[in-house]
């Protein structure tokens, strides 16, 4: 079992140093993305929203999975917590921004509560544990009397317009990127990678591994929940199968693997790829998922570091030989 996981993790490229340049590039790209609603139509804004949403999810997931080795299949749990927190809190009359913050807090607390049990598991066992956790949470929401059961909850707040959603998603995407960059610049970056590569040795070198994992897992979950809270606004109605559906988990993992796990840029490349592929195949919904599946298999086989990881490795080689 452990071998399988290490094979998966060995595909992660070493992250490069983060410098001031990265922040400038992010600011420039964000500025360009900001003007999109002025020049493009509703359709483009919706596609843009999807890309930003998926990119942010995959980048947030990557904090735990790519850098810390906590390969979670429980993203749907955090996403659903965000969705339902937004629905309940905004219906209670709280301002939208506060609802988002609340979503992050709820997700963080959830991570804290489940961590003693989950962190006893390592490698693939952890992965399977998170999968079970998300499913258990979904069933709990369906069966408990407070969350509207299968029918779900209608949001009473005004539905945001496409451009508003787009800008909210953009702001969240920037938040996620800045979190990742700050993390990679800090000493946490070494700790996370050390825990990923060899938890026992990390501990022997003074790294408090439990704390490190909890921070990474909690931050990753909180950011996923924030994205989830926006999805509630987007839909206007929240339902257990939409909020806690495993399709979110699968989408996040596909985006991250295709783009490149453990890289800064990979999740965003993966998101652009998956969303545009989906738009391209919109006439053929019956083969859409099959094509994504085939692409995933091909990437894992031929580009184990994902699109971005393969690209940067090739660049490095080029540099070494010249």
């Amino acid at each position: 079992m452990k071998n399988g996981m290490s094979v998966l993790l060995s595909r992660i490229a070493t992250p490069t140093r983060v410098g001031r340049r990265d922040f400038i590039i992010v600011a420039a790209l964000a500025a360009i993305a900001f003007v999109v609603p002025y020049v493009a139509g509703t359709y483009q804004q919706e596609v843009g929203f999807r890309i930003l949403q998926l990119g942010a999810l995959a980048a947030a997931w990557n904090i735990a999975a790519g850098y810390t080795g906590l390969v979670s299949l429980g993203s749907a749990a955090f996403f659903g917590l965000g969705v339902y927190t937004m629905a309940l809190a905004s219906n209670a009359g709280l301002p939208i921004v506060l609802c988002m913050i609340l979503a992050a807090v709820v997700a963080g607390l959830f991570a804290l509560i489940v961590s003693p049990a989950l962190f006893r598991l390592r490698g693939l066992y952890f992965t399977v544990g998170t999968l079970a956790l998300a499913e258990a949470l979904r069933i709990f929401v369906v069966n408990s009397p407070w969350f509207g059961g299968q029918a779900g909850i209608f949001l009473t707040a005004r539905a945001p317009k496409a451009f508003e959603l787009y800008w909210i998603a953009l702001a969240i995407a920037v938040l996620v990127i800045v979190c990742v960059l700050v993390l990679l610049r800090s000493r946490w970056s070494y700790r996370m990678q050390a825990v990923r590569d060899d938890e026992d040795v990390a501990s022997q070198l003074g790294v408090r591994t439990y704390r490190t994992k909890l921070w990474a897992f909690g931050l990753s979950g909180a950011l996923i929940a924030i994205v989830g809270s926006v999805q509630a606004l987007n839909q206007g109605i929240v339902q257990p199968n939409g909020g806690f559906g495993i399709s979110w988990t699968i989408e996040i993992v596909s985006v991250a693997i295709i783009g490149g796990m453990g890289t800064k840029v990979g999740p965003w490349i993966g998101a652009v790829f998956i969303v545009l592929l989906g738009e391209f195949l919109i006439q053929f919904p019956e083969i859409h998922m099959a094509v994504v599946g085939v692409v995933l298999v091909l990437v894992i086989r031929f580009m184990p570091n994902g699109i971005w990881g393969t690209f940067t490795l090739a660049l490095q080689k080029e540099r070494n030989f010249s």
């Binding site: 070493t14 070494y190 590569d197 026992d200 040795v201 501990s203 022997q204 003074g206 408090r208 070494n320």
Partner: protein, 507 residues
């Protein structure tokens, strides 16, 4: 004076095996304590228990008068206990410098961003790792990984340093350098515990030495007294002890082994004057580095060649090239008249070239018997059974424990398993890579006795070794590699006669 580190009746069992059996030991301030003992005596377990990686079944560990038995290894590291691993475990995808930075920023001492770089740079410099600071640690060869282990432990600014066989596999000059480093550490570190099989390190660094056997303390005393102890000589030191008398060879046993070997090896009949193995102008390039620069040599049928050289000289690369595990950049290797360059490792093995790899590479999830069978999967069932019996008759201990996991054996027994596994393919040529690495002196005696019998059976051998005297005693011909080229070649007696020449080549 109170002890810095005190272990009180520690017992640690794995399954039914007691690795440590109510062991009590003290480390005094300012002391360097050596720990020696046969492979499997519980030495590494001892370090695991002190460092916190292993929880003992009973007993307590006291550090500076405080009971630390319940503390996590991270907290112990922050209190000032630094350890290294016998088999280095670097964070392979982080750079060498990042490996050290990690330890520096997680020690109990606060270090500002401004102080960090000079501190890390200083440690890397001191251990000769500065040129590799920006390489990923996974690219380092074994010996530099060992240095990185020490570098990381030092970055914790430890008060007590636990070093697990950092001297294994070093040539003389490197050992001297290591001893200098350890001696220089005495002023920075309060106390050290050294597990070592290299007796030079023990005798020149350690104030006191403890001897373990079967998890029990045999003796602990001033180092010279311990090394002169006849009990220690018979238990551990073997033929290198001053007091040792040459053990008479048991002729019956030898004859038995020789009989077993006839079914295990294929002796090549010299068809013509052509050599069995011909290596011609072989170049191997990794990344931007030439590991081998035009190496040429021959091996005749039944000949035993010693391949010597300093660490990083290209010995293991040569062994791996012979195995088909690294592609040749240019040049040819032919075996029994057939080119083997470009063949896969399994195809090379099928032709009759077996490998006994560096670091033993035992499959931990397989039993001993399964490990052996894995060495000769191509053979028919009855042939396999026959070879298995033959290996068992050479190494009876393997038969006794054949259902156990391959890694449940002591180091010396694992090496026997690795040798046995290499023989299972009935090879014509066997490459033994660093066979004495990390073995207690007495286990090296045993392993080399087996090698002697294997040589006498007529199989051709290439012995890649750091332990120059042992290899030369066995070989028909010796070669010295330095920086990827063969710089010295000759009869063992010639090389031994001119020790200065040899040592200048070995660095």
């Amino acid at each position: 004076m109170t002890a810095v580190l005190q272990l009180t009746s520690i017992t640690k069992s794995y399954g039914g095996v007691r690795a440590l059996d109510s062991l009590s030991l003290e480390v005094a301030p300012g002391e360097v304590l050596g720990v020696i003992g046969p492979n499997g005596a519980g030495k590494s377990t001892l370090i695991g228990v002190i460092g916190g990686a292993l929880t003992p079944n009973s007993g307590s560990v006291t550090f500076d008068g405080r009971d630390i038995s319940k503390l996590s290894s991270a907290d112990r590291a922050r209190m000032g206990i630094g350890r290294t691993y016998q088999i280095p475990r670097p964070f392979t995808r982080m750079t060498v410098a990042d490996n050290v930075r990690l330890a520096a920023t997680n020690s109990g001492h606060h270090i500002s961003q401004r102080e960090l770089e000079p501190f890390v740079g200083g440690i890397l410099d001191r251990l000769g790792l500065a040129p590799f600071a920006h390489e990923t640690a996974g690219k380092l060869p074994l010996l530099r990984r060992k240095r990185l282990e020490l570098a990381r432990a030092l970055a914790l600014k430890p008060r007590v340093l636990l070093l697990d066989e950092i001297g294994a596999g070093l040539v003389r000059a490197e050992t001297d350098e290591l001893i200098t480093i350890i001696q220089s550490l005495r002023t920075e570190v309060e106390s050290m515990v050294l597990i070592e099989h290299v007796m030079d390190v023990i005798s020149r660094c350690c104030d006191r030495t403890a001897v373990l056997d079967f998890g029990k303390l045999v003796t602990v005393d001033e180092t010279p007294k311990v090394l002169a102890d006849p009990v220690v000589a018979s238990l551990y030191l073997g033929s290198i002890a001053d007091s040792a008398e040459p053990t008479p060879f048991d002729e019956d046993k030898r004859a038995g082994i020789r009989a077993s070997l006839t079914s295990l090896v294929s002796v090549a009949k010299p068809v013509s004057d052509a050599p069995l193995l011909a290596v011609d102008d072989v170049w191997v390039r990794y990344g931007g580095l030439n590991a081998l620069k035009g190496v040429s040599f021959d091996v005749q049928p039944g000949e035993c060649i010693a391949l010597l050289g300093a660490n990083g000289a290209g010995k293991t690369t040569m062994a791996r090239a012979l195995a088909g595990a690294v592609p040749l950049t240019s040049g040819t290797i032919s075996f029994a008249g057939k080119s083997i360059a470009g063949l896969r490792p399994d195809e090379v093995t099928a032709l009759g070239v077996a490998q006994c790899m560096e670091g033993r590479k035992i499959f931990g999830t397989l039993s001993i018997e399964e490990n052996l069978i894995a060495g000769g999967l191509d053979a028919r069932k009855h042939v396999k059974a026959e070879r298995l019996e033959a290996v068992y008759s050479i190494f009876p201990i393997l038969k006794q424990r054949r259902k156990n996991s391959g890694t449940a054996l002591s180091g010396g027994q694992q090496q026997m398993l690795a040798i046995g596994r290499a023989l299972m393919s009935a090879p014509t040529l066997v490459v033994f890579d660093e066979i004495s690495l990390g073995l207690s002196p007495i286990a090296v005696d045993e392993v080399y006795e087996a090698l002697g019998a294997i040589r006498d059976s007529g199989v051709a051998m290439i012995i890649v070794e750091q332990s120059v005297e042992r290899a030369l005693a066995l070989a028909d011909r010796a070669m010295v590699l330095s920086q990827g080229e063969i710089t010295l070649e000759g009869m063992p007696s010639e090389l031994l006669a001119d020790a200065r020449l040899l040592s200048s080549y070995l660095g």
